[in-house]
């Protein structure tokens, strides 16, 4: 076999693997363009005339608009707060190494290692006692708190990589601390900030359990809608679910496409650098 044919075969195999992993996702995307009988048809329908009625109905549903708005605002606000606050702390951890640095970094990380139901139980008790359940502000701040560990870890790694000479030059030339942090350090750790922003965004966007337990009608996002409003009038409304699912999983997939170079650093708490 010639080299070119071998390479073509190899590339076809790689594509086959990628498509196999994507097949279940593809199936729900396909279903979202079907009518209800087509989704439930046996044998499964592969070729059909796509309908956009599911999407039209979805966008006109008030509960979808409400929950989608919650999803977007919660994830954007929480992540912005978390990254801003974490950047300052990461700078301090990296530059001044206060006595408890290692201990604090350890505690921060262990928050993220805890099973969700164990992490939320104490917060639930507190929220019930204080009457903070189903409050949008309390929900946002909780998500911000939960995004902090990841952000501090990832940003500290990046700030550690910036040479202290920059700080020194800044100090010698009379720069204020604000300038050193915001104008000298921030631009150099830009990739870390982007990675922290997008991976926390995906986390909050996909999060279900916390919202289900300490949230309510004011705060619940699309995953809560997906998990709790499955059946309508006895049967499961697959046209609604498939179009809702398709819309909702699109942003994370686009993030993987556009920010592929941050994927590695984002999936490993910033402990592995590089691209694939």
């Amino acid at each position: 076999m010639s080299d070119r044919a071998r390479e073509a075969l190899y590339h076809a195999l790689l594509w086959l693997v990628a498509l196999l992993f994507f097949a279940p996702v593809f199936w729900i995307i396909l279903s979202s363009f079907k009518t209800a009988p087509q989704i439930l048809a046996v044998p499964p329908v592969l070729f059909f005339r796509p309908t956009f009625a599911n999407y039209a109905r979805l966008f006109a549903t008030p509960s979808f608009q409400h929950h989608f708005f919650n999803s977007v605002t919660l994830s954007v606000l929480a992540v912005l707060i978390a990254v801003a606050v974490s950047f300052l702390a990461a700078f301090a951890f990296s530059r001044f190494r206060p006595a408890a640095t290692n201990f604090l970094m350890f505690i921060l990380l262990s928050i993220r290692m805890l099973p969700g139901s164990a992490a939320i139980l104490p917060v639930y008790l507190m929220y019930v006692a204080f009457g903070w359940k189903d409050s949008f502000v309390a929900m946002t701040l909780f998500y911000a708190m939960f995004s902090i560990p990841f952000s501090v870890w990832i940003l500290k790694g990046f700030i550690d990589g910036v040479s202290l000479r920059f700080d020194e030059t800044g100090i010698v030339n009379g720069a204020s601390w604000f300038s050193i942090i915001v104008r000298l350090t921030l631009p150099q750790v830009y990739p870390g900030v982007v990675a922290a922003l997008i991976f926390n965004f995906i986390f909050v966007w996909n999060e279900f359990l916390f919202n289900y337990i300490i949230g309510g009608i004011n705060t619940s996002n699309i995953p809560v809608l997906l998990a709790t409003n499955l059946s309508q009038g006895g049967g499961i409304d697959w046209t609604f679910l498939s179009s809702l699912t398709t819309i909702y999983i699109l942003p994370p997939i686009l993030v993987v496409y556009f920010f592929q170079r941050y994927l590695l650093v984002g999936m490993t708490f910033g402990t592995v650098r590089g691209e694939v």
Binding site: Y10, L14, V17, A18, F21, F22, V25, W27, I28, I39, A41, V42, P43, P44, V85, F91, A92, P98, F106, I107, S110, M113, L114, P115, S117, A118, L121, P122, V123, L125, M126, V128, L141, A144, M145, F146, I148, E168, S176, W205, N206, F208, L209, I213, P223, L226, A227, L230, S242, T245, Y248, P252, V255, V256, Q260, F269, T271, V272, G274, V276
Partner: protein, 323 residues
Amino acid sequence: MAGSADATAATSSRRLLAHRPQRGLLTFLGRREVLPTLLIAPVLIFFIIWNTIPTLWLLGLSFYRFSLTSGRPPIYSGLYNYTSILNDSSTWFDLSRTFVFVVLAVGIETVLGFLLGLLFWGSNRLPGRRVALTLLFAPMVVTPVAAGTFWRLIYDPTFGVLDWFIRLSGFPAVRFLSDANFAFWSVLAVDIWMWTPFMVLMAMAALASVPKAELEAAEIDRLTWFQRFRLVILYHGKFILMLGLLLRTIDAFKTMDLIFDMTFGGPGTATELIAMTLFRRAFEDFNMGSSSALAVILLLISIAFTATFLYVLYLRERKVAAA
């Protein structure tokens, strides 16, 4: 050498920081003793309100008998909650089920992920590589609850596409999620689908860290494939692989959303992993004293995981420093 130069730079910059002229409030806030505290303060406030206080609350409550539904005040009961959890065989069943789930999921994902990583090693000239990798990595960023939803459609015994294939090949239809013999394996399969891409990513990163020159040297020395794998690839890639393995183990231990959406721990307790057990005790039975104790036990397990993770990181840093 580089290390000592950096250290000198650090001390000299610290000395510089300490000797800034002092003018007014801003300068005071900018002083070395004040600034770090000021910068860390917001994170600490978040941390104390949303983590320290609730955790202490949880710890305290774990020594009390307290149910949210009874309306009675908590009654101090010492270690009763802990002993009753540890003497309850169902807790041990759930823990061992979780253990089997974690070992099988992580084991299969690691082997499969590494093999696929090897396959994708030479993929630099793949046409449409970025799209292909996006499709491959999509499962791990897809909303778990959404994934649970569409796997329910695929697994459905009457109109699911998987059962259609099975019936087509002449076998009786399988009730993947409602048959107690199959539910555990069906959920495991979804977890493998979802997280093998993560191990592929880690394997690709590990393989990318292997120097080309050493591989060529190994080829010239006519090392067998197994020797090349053990002496060259594993030597350079083992830290990244270890980190991947650990992160995945921790995550598999936390599996919850998928189960919630697909089976809710059922049928019976066939898919009840420990996170789900805690959910049921806390938010269905509202038995807060006993579930607090279980949460404390899980917290201790997580701290052990975290310590292991940091130890591996520390080993890598020491190796980098020695090199």
